[in-house]
Structure formats: structure tokens, C-alpha cells
Symmetry: C2
Subunit: 323 residues, 2 copies
């Protein structure tokens, strides 16, 4: 689809929307577009923001976007909606305040739901970020609600990962131990006008000093009161410092290379699963095996490993093109 | 490991704990045990309970266990801990009240975390439930915090799925539209002593009437105030009605057969991914391809599909045993 790729590269928002939709539903034509635009990517700076619900991430993104527009940067925003089947509505409400940017042609906003995708979300978000990059965005911001490991995985799209925290969240410090600390390049203590903000910032700083972080970059702890815009400019400066650090240390291309190989592996995994699901519907010997498992004539776990080690069945799973 | 299987079948709790740990860490010996005990499973009634955080699921499980012990039933409980890296501590607090059952040899309680497992959680929970069944549990209860699609997937272990709701959760009705309704066999409106409980029950009932549910089983809506034990006996009666329905309609063996084939497919998928990860470390041509992707000489998405369609690479992925 060279025409669609060209329109995307020219920055046409409708072409961008269409490519993103193709990525989301696993349309085979998306592969060609992604291949055609790849040489035109790598210019955008990609920022990931995560943190617990209620930390004000959407407000930070909103204010950061406002700031970036003031300095003539084109901004792409990918808002990843939460996985929870029980709390969807409430968390999405925050996004409404982004609406003022919808009429600005220098801002492209896309929400991605964690349900109903044809592929894995970390992989799709990487594709969307690259499409935004190719379409001319200077900064791509990926915002996720930190409610699961999937959301942490999505952060593997970003050059810089910022973790938003709030003063009153005692759990936040616990969270840092649970995998968040490993991905954070910068901390934002938001709602800094509330009691306990300084204390929270001090706790995070203390924790950083105790841990074995890389000696060449110690994540800064910044403070914002995003609803008033306070601290946003300083936040952007700190983000830029991290970007400069990445560039001068050679870690930018290293990190981006790792993200690309991860994406490769994610696609292979998804495709293997898709081919297996197809084989279930078409392969008589697999169907017979599944019937034996269902009828209690074979135990599921051991039967599955037997199936994988049966070389007469396997080649078809990988070599039959399904597209 | 025939000796371990025998000890598990004799109901020895230490053997049970050991097998579950083996399942969790993907120990190859677990496969043999699962195969050896399979013929001794199928006797236990497996109940899944899910619902939003704060719905009182742990209290319901606690009181139901108390009731079941009163009628001399052996109970196995699998408590699936939440995925969230940000809210782990708070949600787990509820589990503390289960402690009174820890000294009762007729109750076996196991917490399973959603992090750090060698395999997919839905598959591991199915294995644990079967081990509990083989060890002589009359009732197996699987409780999950409904914070993600994974948790809904875990419910594919249960004969009967109960969804707990609370009066004040306006989001709950939204949730029913987001996939929960499809898996619920029964609703429990808990905290029925609070305002709005009757209204919540009426809303759920109305929604059930509007939807195209199976005509042969309409999910009942029961009410409990689990912290006082109110409604627990009636809840158990309704659960038994569903069990009887499943048995007399032939749906019990059908549903269990589906769960077994799902488990088979889950194991195959996990194993494929594991073999891919291993191949990354050992296969020179795949490594070369990954390096090209990282260095921007190849685009990740299209390169992954090319790799899958390259028959000279693929057979090794599936046929090389990794255990």
C-alpha cells in the first residue's frame, strides 16, 4: 500500500488513523505499510507515563502537551485504556479533559483499549508509536494506567519512562519494589500542593540511593501540581536531560534496538498462537487428540507436551502461511 | 514420581503443596504427577468467585468455607492475588481473615500470585484445582480479584462461576456488559444490609431478562451480608441447584471437557513461546536476523512474518525438546 504509506508520511491524519486501525485489527496490509515507513522513523522522542490510578497522569499529559505546543512541537498521544472489566468507566473519565487538544492539528490523540485487540497490546502500541513518528510527531507520549504487568510491558516502547506518584499513596512505595523501579527513568510526584508531597519525594529519593541503579543515570524526582501547570516546564527539562543522556551515552540506539527485537519476538509469538488456533479447526489428528483430552482419555498437560514433540504434526503449525 | 502422586492421592497436605509449587515453577516432573493423578479427578465441585475489589469476595469465601465445614465437606481454596504492581498490598489485606481456617486440616488454602509464574495463570490454576480434587477436596473454590481479562480467563476452571457485586458500585452494571455477564452462572449482591442492595439486585435481574441468556439456565441473583453470615446458606443452595442443572443437562461433562482442551492449548502456547525464547539464545541465523532488526536494516513486523514462513528455520522451534 505505497499510497497509504505516502499519505501517512505526509502527515495526513486520516491516513494515520487508518493505519492504526489496521494495526489494531491485525489487517495483513498493515505489514506492508510498516515496512514502507520504517526508514522514516527514529526522529520522534517517545515518552511513556505510567503510575497508579488517580495519580493525575492524564492531567500531566494534558499540561505537557500544552507546553510542547507552546514551543511548536507536534505531539502524538497514545492513551492505553485499562484492562479492568469492572472499572473501565471511572478511569476513562479523566481523558475528557484532553478534549481541548482535539481541534489542534498539531496534536494527534488515539485511545487504545486493552480488550478486543487482534494482537498483543505492547506490540500494537510499538507499531502505533512508529506510525506517529513517521507521520511527523516530534514527541510521542504513551500513557497507561498502571494496573497490570501488561501496562509495564507497554513501557518498552519508550525512550524515557516517567512514573507518576501521589503523596497519599502509601502503596506507591511498595509498587516501586514490584517491578516499577526497574523501568523508571524519572519520577513525578504530582499533586505537590497536597500534604506529604515533600515526604513522598524524599522517600523515593532515599529508596533510589539505597538501590543499585546504574551509576551513569540516577532517576530525578520532580514535583508537579499538574492541575495548575506548576512544575511542568521543569518536568520537560528533566525529560530532555534524560534524552540528552541517552543520546550521548549511546543508550538511545541500544534501547531502541532492544524494543525492535522485542517487537519482532512479540509478533512471532502472536502468530504462533494464531496458527495453533487455526490448526485446531483444520487438523484432524489434533482434533482427535483434543477429543481424547476432553473425554478424559488423555491428561491435558502431558498430552500437550507429547503433541509438541511429535514431529509429524509440528511442521504444519509453523510453515503454513495463514495470511 | 509415583510416590509423590500416591501421597497426594492419600490427601497428604505436604505432597499437595509440593506438587502445586512444581506446577507454579514449571518443574518438568509435575507433568508426570498430573498424568498419574488424572484418573482420580472429576469428583470435586469447582466454584469460581470473581468481582470488583471491595465486593467482599474473601468474606464470602470465608463464610462459605465455614458453612461447608459444618456439613463435613473438605474445601480447597485457590486465592489468586492481583496483578497490579501498584495496589498489591491493600487488596491482599482481606485474605488475613481466612487465617482461622489455616489450622483446619479439612481446608487447604493456597495463594497464587500473578507475577513470577513460569506458566500462564489460567493453566496453572487449572492444574492446582485438579490436584486439590485428586487430594480429596469435595469443593474447590477459586477466588480472583476481577482486575483484568486474565482473571476472567481463570474462571474457565470452574463448574460454576459466581460474580460478587456491591450496592454502591455503579460501575458494576457497566462491567456486566464487558464480558462478565458471559461467564456468570450466579450473582451475589453482597453487603445486602447497605442502602441500594435491593435496587442493585433488581438492576441485575432486569438486565438478565433483557439479554439473550441460555433459556435452560437463568442466573439467579442472591443477596448476602457475608460479614454476618446472612444469606450464605441460601447461596450454597443456589450453587447446588446450578450443579444439579449441569449434571442433569449433560453440561457438566461438556464444560469440563472444554476446560481440559483449553488447558491443552494453553500448555502448547506457553511451550511454543518458551522454545522461541530458547532459540533466540542458540540459533545463529535467528540471532543474525534480530541484529538486523535492531540495527534498523529490517523492519520488526515484516521480518517476524518472514521468519515464520522460512521453513529452514522453523522445524527446530517445535521439535527440539527443551526439557
Amino acid at each position: 500500500m505505497p499510497e497509504l504509506a505516502d499519505r501517512l508520511l505526509a502527515g495526513e491524519q486520516r491516513a494515520l488513523s487508518r493505519v492504526i486501525s489496521m494495526l489494531e485489527r491485525g489487517d495483513p496490509s498493515a505489514v506492508e505499510v510498516m515496512r514502507d515507513i520504517d526508514a522514516h522513523t527514529g526522529r520522534a522522542y517517545t515518552l511513556g507515563i505510567t503510575g497508579p490510578p488517580g495519580a493525575g497522569k492524564s492531567t500531566i499529559v494534558d499540561q505537557l502537551t500544552r507546553h510542547l505546543r507552546g514551543i511548536h512541537q507536534r505531539v502524538g498521544i497514545v492513551a492505553v485504556d485499562p484492562t479492568s472489566p469492572f472499572s473501565g468507566g471511572a478511569l476513562l473519565g479523566d481523558r475528557i479533559r484532553m478534549q481541548r487538544h482535539y481541534l489542534d492539528s498539531g496534536v494527534f490523540i488515539r485511545s487504545v483499549a486493552t480488550r478486543g485487540q487482534a494482537g498483543g497490546l505492547p506490540r500494537i502500541v510499538k507499531g502505533i508509536a512508529r506510525a506517529l513518528d513517521a507521520a511527523g510527531c516530534d514527541v510521542v507520549i504513551v500513557e497507561t494506567v498502571g494496573v497490570g504487568q501488561t501496562e509495564l510491558g507497554i513501557m518498552s516502547v519508550a525512550d524515557t519512562v516517567a512514573v507518576a506518584l501521589i503523596p497519599e499513596a502509601g502503596d506507591s512505595i511498595q509498587a516501586l519494589k514490584a517491578g516499577v523501579m526497574e523501568i523508571a527513568d524519572l519520577y513525578v510526584v504530582n499533586k505537590a500542593d497536597r500534604d506529604g508531597a515533600d515526604q513522598m519525594a524524599a522517600s523515593v529519593t532515599a529508596m533510589l540511593q539505597m538501590s543499585l541503579t546504574t551509576p551513569d543515570w540516577v532517576p530525578p524526582v520532580t514535583m508537579t501540581a499538574a492541575h495548575t501547570g506548576q512544575g511542568i516546564e521543569e518536568l520537560w527539562e528533566k525529560l530532555q536531560e534524560h534524552r540528552t543522556y541517552l543520546e550521548t551515552s549511546g543508550n538511545l540506539s541500544k534501547r531502541r534496538g532492544e524494543h525492535r527485537t522485542q517487537e519482532f519476538l512479540e509478533v512471532v509469538e502472536e502468530e504462533l498462537v494464531r496458527r495453533l488456533r487455526r490448526l485446531v479447526q483444520t487438523d484432524p489428528s489434533l482434533l482427535a487428540k483434543l477429543e481424547r483430552v476432553a473425554a478424559r482419555d488423555a491428561e491435558p498437560y502431558s498430552a500437550a507436551l507429547e503433541f509438541l514433540n511429535d514431529s509429524t504434526l509440528n511442521p504444519g503449525l509453523l510453515t503454513t502461511p495463514t495470511r
